[in-house]
């Protein structure tokens, strides 16, 4: 849009976001995740040297929404694909955008090894405690007792174990430089999340190593809630299981 007094704009849609209506459900915080990344790409001026790696999940179409070169990985393999790109183009900014089924279930080996190698990539990990794309089955991150399409009686920890806390797990490795967890359920947390996303890109730009930001996210559709309820559920149910905070921050990042 053309503006007569541009200096009056307090907030405007990031340039790095493509001007299209997304396929995400109303209120799905995947959109928020995309927005934060786009804002950071704008602020850091990375648009022309960034390569995004979309994963298989509801965010499969991330490549349609963020205005940088993009590839679409196989389910769970985004970190391996990003490794392939970063190794041949070390001066580019390479990030993956992955859901919890993608990263914590089928993609466990690839994320652990990318982190252990200290691969110089940025991973934005959206944890919504469920498989959204396929219609709401249990993820490794699903909460105890949570009813999903593949845990109709509620997740039974006796047979399926407790939720996997990826940030804590990866922080147990020597490789990573920056591992934190934030949430997208309210303005204050979204602002913190934005800072973390920016740091995660700066870590890469400064060549400090592997950076991952876990973002607690909503899936109103498969949780069977309206968007506001979903945000409240994140605060009430998810945050206690997935404490927000910094799990690994090497010297020199802050």
């Amino acid at each position: 849009m053309t503006l007569t007094f541009p200096e009056q704009i307090v907030y405007e849609r990031p340039r790095a976001m493509v001007d299209v209506h997304t396929h995400y459900c109303p209120g799905c915080t995947h959109g928020t995740g995309h927005r934060l990344i786009s804002e950071v790409i704008d602020e850091m001026g990375l648009r022309e040297r960034t390569i995004g790696v979309a994963s298989v999940g509801c965010s499969v179409f991330a490549y349609q929404y963020i205005d940088v070169d993009f590839v679409e990985a196989a389910h769970g393999r985004a970190p391996a694909m990003a490794t392939g790109i970063k190794r041949v183009l070390p001066d580019r900014i390479v990030f993956t955008y992955q859901g919890d089924g993608d990263l914590a279930s089928i993609g466990m080996a690839e994320i652990v090894h990318a982190a252990a190698r200290g691969e110089g990539i940025t991973v934005i990990f959206l944890n919504n405690a469920i498989y959204g794309m396929t219609g709401g089955q249990m993820a490794p991150t699903t909460l105890p007792g949570q009813v999903t399409a593949s845990s109709p009686q509620g997740r039974d920890v006796a047979t399926t174990g407790r939720p996997i806390r990826m940030a804590e797990l990866l922080a147990a490795l020597d490789g990573p430089a920056y591992i934190v967890r934030r949430s997208l359920h309210d303005p204050a947390n979204i602002r913190k999340a934005k800072k973390a996303v920016r740091t995660a890109f700066e870590v890469q730009a400064r060549g400090l190593g592997f950076a991952l930001v876990e973002l607690l996210s909503t899936c109103p559709t498969n949780w069977g809630m309206d968007p506001a309820q979903a945000c409240a559920w994140v605060a009430k149910e998810m945050v206690p299981v997935y404490p927000l905070g910094d799990f690994k921050v090497i010297e020199g990042i802050y």
Partner: protein, 185 residues
């Protein structure tokens, strides 16, 4: 003798369920029947549709290019399917959500404010039954009783309390249809 019916609308309008009720009714009337949905994430937020084929003999292709009847519950559905309807076929339009006239003149049109009527009967969600009722009035592929029996037997437990209003919606659809539909000259 084979009838191919496409029911299309917004995700929340219960088009898949309407198709299933039709299929149950056909099955219980001893006919061959197939129900084929649009599926997967492309449905998310967007539109949904299903194809119900009712036949006296074993059914071959579960999809047809030119169906014999279409229930268009919103504008996008009308735009998408009107051109495909077989000449002489039946088009039921939910005029509450469709603000333009039908374009073709080689088909039978039933224009009915289904969503509007549904609201008077107890809620938008009943529009699908109103449309079904209207269809049967125009195209007697099945006996209304069969549809009612299907509703009786297959309305999910959690909606049991809505059985009566669903029945009324069906009847209202039929009644209105005979009254209001405008055959093309």
């Amino acid at each position: 003798m084979q009838n191919e019916i496409i029911i299309a609308g917004f995700g929340g309008q219960g088009v898949l369920f309407a198709g299933q009720i039709l299929a149950y009714a056909a099955m219980e009337s001893g006919k061959h029947v197939t129900w084929f949905p649009s599926y997967g994430p492309e449905m998310r937020g967007g539109t949904a549709n299903c194809t119900v084929i009712i036949s006296d003999e074993e059914i071959g292709a579960p999809l047809v290019r030119n169906p014999t009847a279409i229930l268009a519950m919103n504008l996008p559905s009308l735009s998408k399917f009107e051109p495909l309807l077989k000449p002489g076929g039946t088009l039921v339009v939910n005029t509450t959500l469709v603000d333009r006239p039908v374009e073709r003149d080689d088909i039978e049109v039933v224009a009915i404010p289904a969503t509007g009527l549904a609201e008077t009967l107890g809620g938008k969600r009943l529009a699908n039954m109103v449309m079904l009722g209207a269809l049967l009035a125009k195209l007697p592929v099945l006996l209304p009783e069969a549809l009612k029996a299907a509703l009786e037997n297959h309305l999910p437990e959690r909606h049991r309390h809505l059985l009566d209003v669903n029945m009324e919606a069906l009847e209202e659809g039929q009644a209105q249809c005979l009254a209001i539909h405008m055959p093309v000259p």
